[in-house]
């Protein structure tokens, strides 16, 4: 059995019901597995929620957990994919003192080079938004942290797969 842990993007299509978050997270908690990130939103199908989780696991554990997730009554289908099989992004917001925008010319260059977007500016602070891979966001964080960051937040991963996920046809069947 391979002992190597991989990063997997877990995609779960579910009914939109109260308590399902608890039920899904309990599957990981019970096995002492940390969820690196989690995102829940509407999906491409009406009244179906789509969850995107990132976990670090052995492939055998991953398969077993997918089985446990799919076993839940309100789960329609669960998938796992490697980074190579998905297109994924995260999003983040930086809140930074407005003075720095004018006092530290370097910041403007960093914003330009990183393809970050200024969401709002007022006298006290400005807010920077950046979408991208985790590494890009981490790089930007490191660069900006030199100047001081008032607040920082990063979203969970959102991902789509390169291959088709046949959920709509499954639901029709």
């Amino acid at each position: 059995m391979s002992t190597e842990k991989n990063i997997y993007t877990v995609t779960i299509y579910t009914e939109n019901n109260i308590g399902l978050l608890n039920r899904i997270s309990a599957i990981f908690q019970r096995r002492h597995i940390n969820i690196e990130s989690i995102n829940s939103s509407v999906s491409e199908i009406e009244n179906v929620s789509k969850w995107t989780l990132v976990v670090k696991l052995h492939v055998d554990s991953m398969k077993r957990i997918i089985g446990q997730i799919e076993k839940q009554v309100e789960v329609i289908k669960a998938y796992y994919h490697t980074d190579e099989e998905t297109i994924y992004q995260e999003s983040c917001l930086f809140k930074i003192k407005s003075d720095l925008l004018f006092d530290e010319r370097q910041i403007q260059n960093i914003i330009k080079e990183s393809n970050a977007r200024i969401v709002t500016v007022n006298k006290v602070f400005f807010v920077l938004e950046k979408s991208g891979r985790k590494e890009e966001i981490e790089l930007l964080y490191r660069e900006l942290s030199v100047f001081g960051i008032m607040q920082f937040t990063r979203s969970g991963r959102v991902a789509v797969t390169k291959n088709e996920m046949k959920i709509s046809t499954m639901l029709k069947a």
Binding site: G19, N22, R23, A26, K63, R64, G67, E70, V73, E74
Partner: protein, 578 residues
């Protein structure tokens, strides 16, 4: 004239609905699902439902247990012997949390059960109100499904789903929490049974190719071994299973929950696998060339060390729950689906066979186990009574027709090893969770579900005292269960481990016990204590002949051990006989 017309029209429109309270709707849903008995304990947040139970008492029988845990185990016993959904009901807060052990037990042993709990009014949710607890949150990891109802109008659909989910596919427990205001609220009631849920596929489709592949492996096998589990019983595949093993001539061993699917005396029955199972099937698990698992889940108590479990064999797994495939043991062929239909489809693909030489190996190993273990258990020469000889007497007097409800520990292993079963659904025990205190309330449920059956409960002195208060239920309901306590004044299984692996340091395993006979008699239950071999036969006979409930305490050997035994972490083939 006009007025009457309007009234008539309105009546027509509401012909299929009626305006009733949420609590009355609960009863009507239960009746629609064929529930005629439920086990529970009243309290503040469930009182509206109890008020309706009072009104409907001619149609639905509520059994007041002495603890909510007892209600769940009784519901389990009811479900296990009948195959129907057991129902337990309790109030909010402590009433609800007391259900958890039984729910967890039902989850791991795949027992269909619906639990209904009252909850504080929806306006009080989250306010730390009196007897408020987040039972939906608490029960989530141990239920197949759960749901909280805050509006009466949700009751019919949610309860219909609850029964459908509990019973279909791989069965399990469902908990429905109903706020008090939803119980009082009136609405237009209409009930429709649940026929399907889009996100839930109870029985996976059976792939014909995997069936063919399985048949090929079985037909080519020289030393095939079947291990069957409760899946045979849950899918009522007993006859199909018998046909398969008889045609292919394959020795068949069972897990603790699988026993009774075929009669104990069946010539192809080679005994129990696992930690305290029989010698031959355990040893030969590591010699067979094809291992055929049917409706079982390779529990660690069955497999011992997985690294050295059946590595030489091709493994075929017949299973209803896809999550069980490759969970513990990697399979070569997985046949998903309901055991009954899979086995029926398998039968014509199999060649007739007898595997005589292979059977001789089982017989030879049985002889060794008989000499070293079984003979001393069933026909002891030492002075003190053994648990095995009590089972032997019970077999004689019940002729193998009884349902045996065992608790957890040494006596459980002895009961499962030595009890004779002629009919299916007759071994009721807590297999996966190992819940001490299971047996007494489970026996109540079993006897009430099958009043024509003899139901013999067997417990140790430890587990018996965990739910001993249910004697009150037996007395009040006049449930004629036979209660056997095998008293060794120890928590015997733990003591055995302390002896074998902790250098005889008997930490907190010795029990100073009360006068059990006096306690039973306090509940007006006929009772007797046996300490000598010469009194055993008559005492068991008296118990079985008794029309009402009966309590029999047998003082057995204090430091008796259960063998064979696979020590934790050892391989199945390293099973110890002494």
């Amino acid at each position: 004239m006009k007025e009457t017309e309007t009234i008539q029209i309105v009546r027509k429109e509401t012909a299929t609905t009626e305006r009733i309270s949420g609590s009355e709707a609960v009863i009507k849903c239960l009746l629609a699902e064929g529930v005629d008995i439920l086990y529970g304990y009243p309290g503040g947040a469930i009182m509206p439902v109890y008020d309706e139970l009072y009104k409907y008492q001619d149609k639905i029988h509520h059994v007041l247990t002495r603890h909510e845990q007892g209600a769940t185990h009784a519901a389990q016993g009811y479900a296990r012997i009948s195959g129907k959904v057991g129902v337990a009901i309790a109030t909010s807060g402590p009433g609800a949390t007391n259900l958890i052990t039984g729910i967890a037990d039902a989850q791991i042993d795949s027992t269909p059960m619906v639990c209904i709990t009252g909850q504080v009014g929806s306006q009080l949710l989250g306010s730390d109100a009196f007897q408020e607890t987040d039972i939906v949150g608490i029960s989530t990891p141990v239920t197949k499904w759960n749901h909280q109802i805050t509006k009466a109008s949700e009751i019919p659909e949610v309860l219909a789903k609850a029964f459908y989910i509990a019973k279909s596919g791989r069965p399990g427990p469902v908990l429905i929490d109903i706020t008090k205001d939803a119980q009082f609220e009136e609405f237009d009631f209409k009930y429709e049974k649940c026929k399907g849920i889009r996100s839930y596929k109870p029985v996976p489709e059976t792939d014909k190719n995997s069936l063919k592949a399985a048949a090929e492996l079985i037909n080519k096998a020289k030393k095939p071994l079947i291990i069957w589990g409760q899946g045979i019983i849950l899918s009522e595949a007993e006859e199909a299973f018998k046909a398969v093993i008889e045609k292919a001539g394959i020795p068949a061993a069972w897990t603790i929950l699988g026993v009774s699917a075929i009669p104990t005396s069946h010539p192809l029955n080679v005994g129990m696998v696992g930690m305290h199972g029989n010698y031959a099937p355990n040893v030969l698990t590591n010699e067979c060339d094809v291992l055929i698992a049917i409706g079982m889940r390779f529990d660690d108590r069955v497999t011992g060390n997985l690294e050295s479990y059946a590595k030489q064999a091709k493994v075929i797994h017949f299973e209803i729950d896809p999550a069980e495939i490759d969970k513990n043991v990697k399979t070569d062929v997985a046949v998903l689906g309901d055991a009954k239909s899979s086995l029926k489809a398998l039968l014509p693909l199999l060649n007739a066979n007898s595997h005589n030489d292979w059977h001789h190996k089982f017989k030879a190993l049985y002889e060794i186990e008989f000499e070293k273990v079984i003979k001393n258990d069933l026909h002891p020469t030492k002075e003190s009574l053994t648990m095995g000889e009590v089972l032997k007497e019970i077999n004689i007097h019940t002729k193998g027709e009884a349902a045996i409800v065992s608790d957890v520990g040494q006596h459980q292993m002895v009961a499962c090893r030595y009890a004779n079963f002629n009919t299916t659904k007759s071994n009721i025990t807590s297999g996966g969770l190992g819940t001490m205190g299971f047996a007494l309330p489970a026996a109540i449920g079993a006897k009430m579900a099958a009043p024509e059956r003899e139901v013999v409960m067997i417990a140790g002195d430890g587990g018996y005292q965990m739910t001993i208060q249910e004697l009150g239920t037996i007395f009040q309901q006049k449930v004629p269960v036979k209660i056997v306590v095998l008293n060794n004044e120890f928590l015997g299984m733990v003591r055995q481990w302390q002896q074998l692996f902790f250098d005889k340091r008997y930490a907190s395993t010795e029990m100073v016990n009360p006068d059990f006979v006096a306690i039973a008699k306090g509940y007006h239950i006929d009772a007797k204590k046996v300490t000598k071999r010469e009194d055993l036969k008559n005492a068991v006979k008296e118990m079985i002949d008794c029309k009402g409930p009966y309590f029999l305490e047998v003082r057995v050997e204090k430091e008796g051990n259960v063998f064979p035994m696979i020590p934790t972490g050892a391989s199945v083939s390293d099973i110890r006989l002494e």
